[in-house]
């Protein structure tokens, strides 16, 4: 029997068993271990599928009127593997974190099923199950908090919006095909207008799941409010499925398309990347920051996907392969480091009770393991060598750079802008994660909570360590997963060489050389210094002092220069409120300063919609005034109109 089939079946069985067990024995260990095992089985299934063991399964009896069919191929396998990997870390973490919930393994299961779906109905049902379970998890643990309620509402509505969009898109597609299985859809011959409709509708839906601007508003609300292992699953695994959907529909089912599709994807990706990271750079809430960084990274992935589509449409399969490789590798990388970061943020929350960066600091002493692991994640996320994301961003830039010479005018404009957006994103990511790590973990504690932090239990540490291991492996030997994502776009184990274009990178050797250089420098310094011991000394406080934690730079002040630079873009809201003395208005009793950086896209785009909806609701009430005459009148006038119509038309 096919190994992918066996392991995938095992994953399904394990998830169901865990869910049942969690109801019978509501213990964290049971749920966590079960989820981790489910994830491991999923990982195995994904790896098997990627290495060529695909399988299909049709279950006509399930899902009335539609039937269910699954096919796990290489593309789906990749996403199954990523989801599985994230679930392993999150599951291990959950053995000592959060409440025991039967929904957790079901959520993982739904995410494993989505990439395996082989028909429109199956995809939609798995998609909705995934949304449902994640929604339950978001509101499950802290349901009495107002933020959670609000986040849950946003999430539920926006995810449903995305769902309806996907539903309509795929239904239009299926209506032009003999059946609704993916195999039948591939055969369908669509007119350009229809395929454009399908593409735009599904793009909207999948993009909203991936947190792409302007459909991202739910993400920085829901991801931070969920329990951290759930945040990790959502931010590292669930958002990927938006990318999966886009790739599946855009490339596999629709078979590519005209250039404007992909320019649109590219533009959305670039916009999301910059917007997301800009918001993250201004953010002072650790988990919200991570959520916004998810928007950024998915934006980068979409830049890759868009570039891949563009190159395909321009007849350049080599670069298309390269861009695809970059996008998919970034998906994998992002999954690894975002898992780690969210789990670590959860550890911070667990250890201190706060996730406000302005109140954190000094955790490196009280929570050394968490600090070290978060550092690994931050390095990975800031796309600096030898971090994880550097390799994928390098690939992305290579694809964009090489795409320039033989291209049309649209590409000649799009690609430099894309490079600039990626570059700006990379730079701002550095700011963001320097802030997150430097302000959150280094320096002195800024609050009582941070000062009294406690290192987290071993289960949580183990979960983080697994994710960190993933990050390190991906950073040093991306060639282990590159064949899976890139086909033949790159060769080489230690040194990646691009096929078809010049370019090579060796993350392992680079790291090795860096380490050697550090050792050499350290040895050199030891050789030349006169005194080796360090004298303990007060911090230089200009002779005054003592220097209190209040004098430290906070996350807000850290981001202030950047906020000034981009104030036309982000439009921060400043509110200075001066209370004067009663006697004289020249004497000031109190000054209150408030600053917030609201999401501008949200304010411009969502606020009018919300206002219009509210107005609609108010206007709607006049339909039901309570007057029985009015109610009967509806019928009477309709009857008269209908009769008149009947009399006139015959």
């Amino acid at each position: 029997m096919n190994p992918a089939q066996v392991t995938f079946g095992a994953a399904v069985a394990l998830a169901l068993a865990t869910a049942v067990a969690a109801i019978v024995v509501p213990r964290r260990v049971v749920v966590g271990a079960g989820t981790a095992l489910t994830g491991a089985a999923g990982l195995a299934a994904g790896v098997a599928a990627v290495s060529g063991h695909s399988f299909s399964l049709v279950l006509p009896g399930l899902l009335p009127l539609s039937g269910v069919s699954f096919t796990l191929d290489a593309l789906g396998g990749l996403f199954v593997a990523v989801t599985g990997g994230v679930a392993v870390a999150a599951g291990v973490y959950a053995t000592s974190y959060g409440k025991a919930s039967a929904v957790l393994p079901m959520f993982v299961l739904a995410m494993l099923l989505v990439p395996a779906a082989a028909s429109v109905g199956t995809l939609l049902v798995c998609w909705e199950l995934m949304a449902l379970f994640s929604l339950l998890l978001v509101i499950g643990e802290n349901r009495s908090r107002a933020e959670v309620t609000s986040a849950g509402r946003w999430y539920a509505v926006m995810t449903h919006l995305g769902f309806v969009s996907i539903l309509c898109g795929l239904m239009v597609f299926a209506a032009h095909a003999p059946a609704d299985s993916f195999a039948a859809l591939r055969e369908a011959r669509l007119s350009p207008a229809v395929s454009a409709t399908v593409f735009v509708l599904t793009l909207a839906g999948f993009a909203s799941k991936a947190g792409i601007v302007p459909l991202h508003a739910w993400l920085p609300r829901a991801h931070p409010e969920a329990p951290s292992h759930v945040s990790a699953l959502m931010s590292a695994a669930m958002v990927n499925l938006g990318v999966y959907g886009l790739v599946r529909v855009g490339f596999d089912l629709l078979g590519g398309g005209p250039r404007w599709w992909w320019l649109l994807v590219l533009a959305l990706g670039a916009l999301s990347a910059v917007h997301g990271i800009l918001q993250a750079a201004m953010s002072t809430d650790l988990k919200r920051l991570l959520g916004q960084s998810t928007t950024e990274n998915m934006g980068l992935v979409l830049v890759g996907v868009g570039a891949a589509g563009l190159f395909t449409a321009s007849g350049n399969p080599v670069l298309a392969g390269l861009a695809t490789a970059a996008a998919l590798l970034h998906v994998v990388n992002h999954a690894a480091f975002k898992t780690l970061l969210f789990l670590a943020a959860g550890a911070v929350l667990h250890g201190t009770g706060t996730r406000d960066l302005d109140a954190l600091g000094g955790l490196r002493r009280t929570m050394p393991v968490t600090t070290a692991l978060f550092g690994v994640g931050a390095l990975a996320a800031s796309a600096l060598p030898p971090g994880t994301a550097f390799v994928s961003e390098w690939l992305l830039l290579q694809a964009l750079v090489h795409g320039l010479p033989p291209s049309g005018v649209d590409t000649a404009i799009a690609l430099p802008v894309a490079v600039a957006a990626v570059a700006l994103t990379a730079g701002l990511a550095v700011v963001t994660f320097v802030k997150a790590f430097g302000v959150g973990f280094l320096a002195k504690p800024r609050s009582e909570a941070a000062a009294n932090a406690r290192e987290v239990p071993y289960g949580m540490r183990a979960g983080m360590a697994i994710a960190a291991l993933g990050c390190v492996v991906l950073a040093l030997l991306p060639s282990l997963v590159l064949p899976a994502v890139a086909g033949g776009a790159t060769t080489g184990l230690v040194t990646l060489r691009l096929t078809g274009v010049t370019g090579s990178l060796s993350p392992l050797l680079l790291t090795l050389w860096l380490v050697v250089a550090v050792v050499v420098v350290a040895a050199g310094v030891r050789g030349v210094v006169a005194r080796r011991t360090r004298r303990d000394a007060r911090l230089w406080d200009c002779g005054g002092g003592p220097m209190s934690a209040r004098m430290e730079y906070t996350a807000t002040s850290f981001a202030e220069p950047l906020q000034r630079v981009f104030d036309d873009v982000v439009q921060p809201e400043l509110d200075v409120h001066v209370t004067h003395h009663e006697e004289s208005r020249y004497l000031v009793r109190a000054v209150e300063f408030r600053r917030s950086v609201p999401d501008r896209v949200e304010r411009r785009l969502y606020a009018p919609v919300l206002a219009a909806t509210r107005a609609w609701g108010r206007a709607g009430r006049s339909l039901a005034t309570g007057s029985v005459h009015r109610y009967l009148g509806y019928g009477f006038y309709t009857l008269c109109a209908a009769l008149l119509l009947l009399a006139v038309t015959r």
């Binding site: 009896g61 399930l62 899902l63 009335p64 009127l65 539609s66 429109v120 109905g121 939609l124 049902v125 909705e128 199950l129 949304a131 449902l132 509101i139 349901r143 009495s144 107002a146 959670v148 309620t149 849950g152 509402r153 539920a156 509505v157 449903h160 919006l161 309806v164 539903l167 309509c168 239904m171 239009v172 299926a174 209506a175 609704d180 909806t613 509210r614 609609w616 609701g617 108010r618 206007a619 709607g620 009430r621 339909l623 039901a624 029985v628 009015r630 109610y631 009967l632 509806y634 019928g635 006038y637 309709t638 009857l639 209908a642 009769l643 009947l646 015959r650």
Partner: protein
Amino acid sequence: MTILLLPLLVPLLGAAGYAVFGWRRATVWLGTASASVMLASSIAIAAGDLPRTASAGLVRVDALSAFMLLVIGAVGLLATAASPAHLRTEIAAGRASTRTAARHSLLVQLFLAAMTLAVTAADLGVLWVAIEATTIVTAFLVGQRRTRAAVEAAWKYVVICSAGIALALMGTIVLNHASVHSGHEAGLDLAGLAAAASGLDPAVTRIAVVLLLLGFGTKAGLAPLHAWLPDAHSQAPAPVSALMSGVLLSVAFYAILRVKVIADVALGTGFTRAVLVVMALASLAIAASLLLGIRDYKRMLAYSSIEHLGLVALGAAIGTPLALAAALLHVAGHGLAKGVLFLGSGRILQATGTSRIDGVRGLLASRPALAGSFGAGVLALIGLPPFSLFASELGIARAGFAAGMGWFTAAAFALVLVIAAALVTRTSRMLLGPPQEPATGSVPMTLVAGLAVCAALGVAIGPLSPLLHDAASLLVVTR
């Protein structure tokens, strides 16, 4: 005695039982027992050969009737199983006496009987009589509490429904006119009419169909004469609301489906499709407009019923086998989910004393099991898997786009989205947040059971599948 009459006679016997013995210890579970027998006999009927007739051709059960019988039986069982607890609480709270309880139980039995008669009637006239009978029977159930609101609701209910249903009577007579002059001997016999429909005069049939659709549409909660529904459903006692919303609307829609078969043969599929699409979209739009600003959770559920009947109407308008099967499945799923929700809302009302959404906070913390089932029910209503409404909505969408009605379907689903947003927002306000009181409450088994069945139907319908497809194929007209 043929088994076909059993679902009709059993509730009548139950009613007689309550009439004779009143509300006492022995009769508390009589209603539940009768509903169980109804369901059991419905299952037996559905499992047998169909169609079958009885009582000199006045009663006929085909696949569609059998399916509707199952829905009535299932939701009836759900509602009657929850009745004793409901009534006991009401009596304990002094809002009802044992006489009220007895009358309630009696009327509920008659209500069930009337609905059973409606779906088993072979004659359009009898069908009309049965549906009008449901209005009369439920009028006092709606006004049971005798508060100002209840009396007002009952008045509106009876007046609007009677006026609407009078239009259906007029339509029936016009159709009869056409039938008599078509040269066939069909009269108002549904099967006969459907067979002989091609001979009906189109001009007359058009008038008849419009009147019938408007008339039965009133009872089915479709626009434009939908306005009684939120009032009546919100004021009726919970088990009655469950029955009214869960099955009565569908029973009225059953009549529309019967008319549609005849009309499609006589006029081609375009005519009813146009009328039904307009009614469906209007209903959805009205439900959406009013749900956006809704302040009362029982009315919220009622408007959601308008929405779901609108979806069913859309399914019927699409008219392909898949769409009709989906519409029927939707009827079943909606019946169960809405039944559960109304029963749950009744419990919430009894627990909190208010039906205003603002008045209920943090229910999930104070009554986790009840709030959980209520929340799950709302999730079912907005069409999330694994509940069967997902499968049926998916089917309607698929059929709609495949039948070239993509724009209407897309518009409908856009409205469904707005409604889902409104439902989620309101429900989350009720369920989430800090608790108002310490946690209490037991697991409401009826609700859980109803939801479980709804979910099971969404996963696989197994043996129901042939019945559903037979029923759908009865309604499909190829012309």
